[in-house]
């Protein structure tokens, strides 16, 4: 045997949730392969899952608790390892607990802000939010879903009452017609993209791509609509106009399952394809064609990513899609639906487990008396009824001096928040900052105490993938040095803070294994009632909702009704709040990902993946490059009103003229130095995909 042993687990990267086998030799992951025959990936992987788990062995892993040397200086400065000293667990935890309880007793619970983590397990996140809610008595908890699918969630909540993907990954091969919009699927959800491509090539499904960039999926499409960035609502409203005008909608579905159609359809009168042509730059006949294809299809599904969601109009973008699905009845049957493709491995699960400011686990509202009483009883303490602040509201609240203490598990806001200058300025004002992480990243450099955590391959628990499948994460190795599993760290911290503020939480944070935490959550969340670690072990993975032990789980949603009862149409007004290009900043900047990297790069930049994609770049259309006198060897400087970065150039007609594209992964040229902190009114998600920039020759 070439390996000492092989451990099956769930991939730590994207929301597809591939099942992988880690081949272990002498305490290291040597290679990974797809688990044979197991859903959802059935033997497939992408480069990140197959080759990218080596970050867990990177020499810069945190192995000991760290305490900042110059604690409590007037202004917090970022520092590398040299700015910290190693400490024992007891010292670090006591120090963290001292600082937290001091704030709690002096300023009360509203002085705390917290981020839980879409990469940690459901169990870690459940316990983290339990700590925040029951010990710190605040609902100021959020995570990066706010910065990614918040607008999809807000829109789908309004329209349907539930925000999860309506289809399972297994259904994808059997599509008839589908629209991919604002998702560079082959790079962001590679395994899902193979099913979507297969649907086209093998099963004659028809694909429409609606995306300003010529992404690889467009090679498989019968129609590619390249609209001007930020004009999504106009495209979809005009499609709806055609569907109403030509009566391509499903009267029966509208009557039985929806409300508000008459009013909505009347609001579409002016939204002709000709009107949209002026706004979107897409010819009217292409919009007509897309509308007919969608309206006439037997079954049709939407798949989207950040292009729809990360926008100041993100909620409206989502609603414009939901409106189309509702009027055509493309919901509730296999092969139909509305599907936000979730980004992180456990972004679905982190929300499910209560990692949001307005809900307890299982989407039970914190402001709802009945839910609050239920959780008070379960956790044996009184709880705060006031919904907390969202990610960027917490950042603002630091700026305003309301929040003085931050506790961050795994997130890296100093790469992921827009307008990093402002974000840094806010963090430097904190009085106390505790970070739990596996590496010292851009955010950790501001921390007072850093507690070293276990990576995905060093812990037990569950991740919930994009199609709501709860899957097991299995421990393959011990954490390096003294690092501990997140939930263990949180338990210790919770007990110590409790003691200092005069409350005894020891029985509430007394777990010896991750599955005991799951069981506590499953008792409180009806949709998890029938799921246990032991059952997932037997059945591989279970789609929630799964209310009891005899329930088989729910691969697709909405077959009989929507969670809000009837699906609701929403009238939409076309606005344009994005920063527009002008003479000084003549280009639109769009941000996104590349295949080989992951978000802020904390993991993939410390992996062999970085060897193939080591440098930040800006993608520019050949015509624009000529206009600006830039050739392929140039180093360029891209600047917005907020900042400026220097990077390589990649000349390609993938992006349309007038639009530059920069990936989000590179700290040395962090694109969020340039982006703008304007937010969607209801989802509070920033406008990452559009801001005005200029480009010039660099050094």
């Amino acid at each position: 045997m070439k390996f000492d042993r092989t451990v099956s687990t769930t991939c730590p990267y994207c929301g597809v949730g591939c099942q992988i086998d880690l081949n272990i030799k002498e305490g290291r992951i040597i290679s990974a392969k797809a688990s044979e025959g197991k859903a959802p990936n059935f033997g497939r992987l992408c480069v990140k899952g197959r080759f990218g788990t080596d970050y867990t062995h990177h020499p810069t892993r945190l192995t000991k608790p760290l305490i900042r040397k110059d604690l409590d200086k007037e202004k917090r400065e970022p520092c590398g390892m040299e700015g910290f000293r190693e400490a024992s667990w007891d010292e670090a935890l006591d120090m963290a607990a001292d600082r937290i309880s001091r704030t709690f007793l002096q300023s009360g619970s509203s002085a705390f802000g917290t981020f839980c983590c879409a990469k940690a397990t459901n169990e870690d996140n459940y316990l983290f939010q339990k700590f925040v809610r029951s010990v710190l008595k605040t609902n100021n908890i959020d995570h990066c879903a706010r910065l990614c699918h918040a607008a999809s969630v807000a829109g789908l909540q309004k329209a349907l009452g539930s925000a999860a993907m309506s289809n399972s990954i297994a259904e994808m091969k059997d599509l008839d017609l589908f629209i991919v919009t604002g998702s560079n699927t082959t790079e962001t959800h590679p395994v899902i993209s193979t099913y979507l491509k297969e649907a086209v090539v093998k099963n004659n499904a028809r694909l429409i791509v609606i995306d300003p960039r010529k992404i690889e999926m467009a090679n498989f499409a019968i129609l590619h609509i390249q609209h001007k960035p930020g004009t999504d609502v106009a495209v979809y409203q005009a499609m709806a106009h055609v569907i109403v005008r030509d009566k391509l909608y499903s009267r029966d579905f509208i009557d039985r399952r929806t409300e508000g159609f008459e009013q909505y359809s009347a609001s579409l009168d002016a939204c002709t394809p000709q009107w949209a042509e002026k706004i979107t730059g897409v010819t009217a006949d292409k919009i007509e064609q897309a509308a007919r294809l969608y309206g006439e299809a037997e079954k049709a599904a939407f798949y989207w990513g950040m292009g729809i969601s990360q926008s100041v109009h993100g909620t409206d973008n989502t609603l414009s899609i939901a409106n189309l699905a509702l009027m055509c009845g493309h919901l509730g049957k296999p092969g139909t639906g509305v599907n936000p493709l979730r980004g992180q491995n456990n972004v679905q699960g982190c929300s499910d487990s209560g990692g949001l400011p307005n809900i307890y686990p299982g989407y039970q509202n914190v402001a709802d008396e009945e839910s609050a009483l239920k959780f008070e009883k379960a956790w044996g303490t009184d709880l705060n009824r006031k919904p907390g602040l969202t990610t960027l509201e917490m950042s603002d609240a630091i700026g305003e001096g309301i929040i003085s203490d931050f506790i961050i598990m795994g997130e890296n806001p100093l790469m992921s928040e827009p307008d990093l200058n402002k974000a840094r300025e806010h963090l430097s004002k904190l009085k106390n900052m505790i970070v739990i992480d596996i590496f010292l990243n851009e955010t950790g450099q501001y921390a007072d105490v850093i507690l070293p955590a276990a990576a995905f391959s060093e812990k037990n628990g569950t991740f919930t993938n994009s199609d709501r499948r709860v899957q097991l994460v299995r421990k393959a190795l011990d954490p390096p040095g003294e690092a501990r599993e997140d939930w263990q760290i949180i338990s210790e911290l919770a007990k110590r803070v409790g003691r200092r503020i005069g409350q005894d939480f020891s029985s509430e944070f007394n777990f010896s294994r991750a599955d005991e935490i799951w069981d506590e959550m499953a008792e409180l969340v009806p949709a998890f009632g029938g799921i246990s670690h032991e059952r997932i072990e037997r059945e591989d993975g279970i789609h929630w909702p799964c209310p009891d032990k005899s329930h088989r789980g729910s691969p697709y949603l909405f077959s009989d009704s929507f969670p809000r009862g009837k699906g609701k149409f929403h009238e939409l007004k076309l606005t344009n709040l994005s920063e527009q290009p002008d003479d000084d900043f003549p280009y639109i900047l769009s941000t996104g990902r590349v295949l080989y990297h992951w978000h802020g790069g904390t993991m993939t930049r410390r992996s062999v993946l970085n060897d193939i994609s080591p440098r930040p770049f800006v993608e520019i259309h050949p015509d624009d490059a000529r206009k600006e006198n830039l050739d392929s060897d140039s180093t360029v400087r891209v600047s917005s009103r907020r900042g400026s970065i220097e990077l390589d150039i990649r000349i390609s007609d993938r992006s349309p003229t007038g639009v530059l594209f920069i990936p989000i992964h590179f700290a040395e040229a962090a694109v969020n130095e340039l982006t703008r902190d304007i937010r969607d009114a209801s989802a509070k998600i920033p406008d990452y995909k559009i801001c005005a920039v200029k480009i010039e020759k660099g050094r």
């Binding site: 070439k2 081949n23 030799k25 040597i30 290679s31 392969k33 797809a34 059935f42 033997g43 497939r44 992987l45 992408c46 480069v47 197959r50 080759f51 080596d54 082959t186 590679p190 193979t194 491509k197 297969e198 090539v201 093998k202 498989f220 295949l595 062999v608 993946l609 060897d611 193939i612």
Partner: protein, 211 residues
């Protein structure tokens, strides 16, 4: 689906119409060895290791692509079949390094194939190709089963980075214009590694760990 009946190795069985002989046999617990067959891929019918003797048929038939017929009489391990399989393994041994093909080694043992029987005209000695950070291609071990090409194109990945180049004796697996992988449409999913039966495709870390 219609049920039909046939005889495999003297045993009368019922099965669904449309199955291949291989599927029908395996459903009865009768194992037929295969090389180029893979459960989740379209059988290319290339290697002929799965041949069986069907009464009335002139030549041996590849069971992985031959459909069952009502009344068929099949022998899966007659002397003629065994001889054919043994010869295939002996020829493969002459053309590629099978030291990391556990399944083939097992078949060689079971059939007592003489791996030294044929001397290759041109010995297949090749340096492993290391042109990317992720995996190596050691075509000295390649038996041309074509699974990697299948997986990379229509069957799974739809990236079309690999192809069969050349004809006849000169056939080999290659990228278009023999370009290094980073210059092709390869996305390093490694799904080709997963199906390679001989270790010709291998993660670099495994490769480096062995030397």
């Amino acid at each position: 689906m219609n049920q039909i009946s046939l005889t495999i190795d003297g045993k009368r069985i019922q099965c669904e119409e449309g199955l291949t002989i291989l599927e029908a046999a395996r459903s009865q617990g009768i194992d037929i060895p295969t090389i180029c067959y893979h459960e989740s891929l379209t059988p290319p019918g290339l290697c002929r290791q799965c041949v069986v003797e069907v009464k009335g048929a002139r030549v041996l038939l590849p069971s992985c692509i031959t459909e069952v017929k009502d009344g068929m009489v099949v022998e899966t391990s007659s002397p003629r079949v065994m001889r054919a399989r043994r010869t295939i393994l002996e020829m493969l041994s002459a053309s590629a390094d099978l030291s990391e093909a556990p399944d083939l080694k097992k078949q060689i043992d079971t059939l007592q194939a003489q791996t030294e029987r044929f001397k290759p005209k041109v010995p297949n000695i090749q340096e492993p190709l290391i042109d990317n950070p992720f995996y190596i291609r050691d075509y000295g071990k390649c038996i041309l089963c074509g699974k990697c090409v299948q997986v990379c194109s229509e069957e799974v990945q739809l990236s079309y980075a690999l192809t069969v180049a050349g004809r006849g004796f000169d056939s080999r697996i290659a990228t278009f214009y023999n370009r290094p992988l980073p210059e092709t449409s390869c996305v390093f999913c490694g799904n080709c590694i997963e199906v390679c039966p001989t270790g010709a495709l291998k993660p670099r870390k495994e490769f480096e760990n062995e030397i």
